[in-house]
Assembly symmetry: C2
Homo-oligomer: 335 residues x 2
């Protein structure tokens, strides 16, 4: 159905994002409107008040108010599989005509034949092979175009929504609230950096230079007049676990004062943030809501939350109980 709104929208993704953000804008007078009153919301507002009150011993000057967020499972959903992997699986099918050899080669054969058992047997290495094959060997600009095209048309198998609508409304509000209080908001995620940059600015308000993630090696190609950056099928940095504080130090060069994650892969980032001098905030999103989202933690293969949950409880970090603390999960739910 072509509506007037659609006709007026030159850039479909931008419009969708605007629609997404409208609920936030409408509630601009009330920060964190989708958070229920309770210990999680209170610990956030208490922290922000402490570090932004001039004269307070906890005051932090704006340039040092750095907040880092994991992406998968923290800012958007990650079930039944990390969305970037779903993108890579779709890309195998789309790119298959250019790769006739895939019909007879695992793990690509498994994807093309929807053979879940063979795909599961290929394991993490198989998935990485699929990501590398579909996301490298092309220029950075070509990859970004592929990612944007997929994000614009792909739909989640359970909700039927575009993936960029499966972001957490309370976390969008938290990002806004922090920025309104002089924070610089970063993503620090195991996802590949160029994939996240394809939507982070429009969906989260986080510009490319504040997105940190896993990276492939690249090669500058100095073609006469039209140089390009070629993506190579070799991981340069795995931004997971200890890789997170390492990339924070390499790229930001300053320790964050707030960190939010949802899995054991975020533990070291939380430890690094929490151990800084002065007041710090470490938070976890705990997926406890099988009705509105998903419920999983210690036993999950995606987004395992085990050690980090224990450490959060020991150290008194903030654990957000999705079912208890969030009025709404997604922006598309009725407020």
């Amino acid at each position: 159905m072509i509506t007037l709104k659609a006709i007026l929208c030159v850039n479909w993704l931008r419009c969708m994002t605007l629609a997404l953000l409208l609920p936030v804008l409408a509630q601009a007078g009330e920060p964190l409107a989708s958070w229920n009153d309770g210990p999680a919301k209170a610990s956030i507002t208490r922290f922000v008040q402490a570090v932004t009150t001039e004269g307070s011993q906890d005051f932090v000057r704006p340039g040092e108010r750095l907040a880092v967020f994991d992406n998968d499972g923290t800012l958007w959903s990650e079930q039944p599989l990390y969305f970037q992997l779903l993108f890579a699986l779709d890309e195998v099918k789309r790119q298959a005509p250019q790769h006739p050899e895939w019909k007879a080669t695992q793990p690509f054969k498994a994807v093309l034949e929807n053979d879940r058992q063979a795909l599961a047997a290929a394991g993490v290495d198989g998935l990485l092979k699929i990501v590398a094959a579909t996301s490298t060997g092309i220029t950075s600009e070509a990859f970004t175009a592929n990612a944007k095209a997929w994000l614009a048309q792909a739909r989640h198998p359970k909700t039927g929504k575009p993936y960029t609508e499966m972001v957490f409304q309370p976390m969008l509000e938290l990002l806004d609230y922090l920025r309104a209080n002089g924070f610089k908001t970063y993503i620090v995620s195991g996802g590949e950096v160029a994939f996240m940059r394809a939507f982070a600015e429009q969906v989260y308000g986080i510009p490319p230079e504040q997105v940190i993630g896993s990276t492939f090696q690249t090669r500058f190609q100095p073609d006469e007049g039209q140089p390009s950056i070629l993506r190579l099928p070799k991981l340069a940095h795995n931004d997971d676990g200890p890789g997170k504080p390492e990339s924070i130090e390499a790229i930001i060069g300053r320790r964050p004062i707030l960190a939010f994650g949802n899995s054991d892969g975020d533990l070291q980032m939380l430890q690094w943030t929490a151990a800084g001098s002065g007041k710090r905030f470490a938070g976890l999103v705990h997926h406890t809501d099988a009705r509105r989202e998903w419920a999983y933690d210690r036993q999950s293969r995606v987004g395992t939350l085990n050690k980090a949950l224990d450490e959060a409880n020991e150290r008194g970090w903030t654990v957000v109980d999705m079912a208890r603390d969030w009025k709404r999960v997604y922006p598309f739910e009725a407020p």
Copy 2:
């Protein structure tokens, strides 16, 4: 001599920097005050006016006004040797008591005995060995403390000035002018990133997260309650030549619209910047002033400027002739 000013200064480096910046502040009404009127200054102001004029076809929104600067030879001097190498040589002497084996091992022996011939024979590999030995195997915090201590007391062999005063006054003004016009200013340099961050914010007004450089591999050490980042003696990224556009793409994720360098190591960064769509600025600082600074280009071992100079002339990039275009070189010269 202890002066009242010195007594009042809690942080010596900060005070020195304030003194450094006073000339700039005094001339706040007149941007680029240390630039002579001429083609270089005119090309800068013409470019900035074009990309900041709303409604102009060359207009660039503030978030995309990214400017990247090489450091050695572009923002400060680099003779007789890159200042970070002079730091590393001094560190060999300072750290020697903890390394008795250095007395009998090259290239350390050469440094300890001031044996220039043996040091020259060790070549670039020898220098890299010295940098790695003196700058790694310690935490990121310990390294920053070492770098700051050296910067506070070391003096340049020719000028007798602290290295942080050997920055180019016209370039400080250019950084200010760009920021006043909504640009985000970055360093993209072959220098090691943590060394530059030890002074970049105070001296250039460029915060750590806008400093990109060569990096060592690191390892997160999760010591109970007090984790740290250990610097390892292995280069992770060599931010020179093609490494510059590669790191810009990996870390910034957006193509700059202005780039300034001074040597062949900056050529690919200039190519990458200049080839973007829309109006772009590519500039070179040409060291032509043997009296106030140094004069060198095609034959120099430090900061070789050969291919990039040819390409700048072919493509009409802006070449700053230091002797002709700059009223003052250093802030400590009389205005």
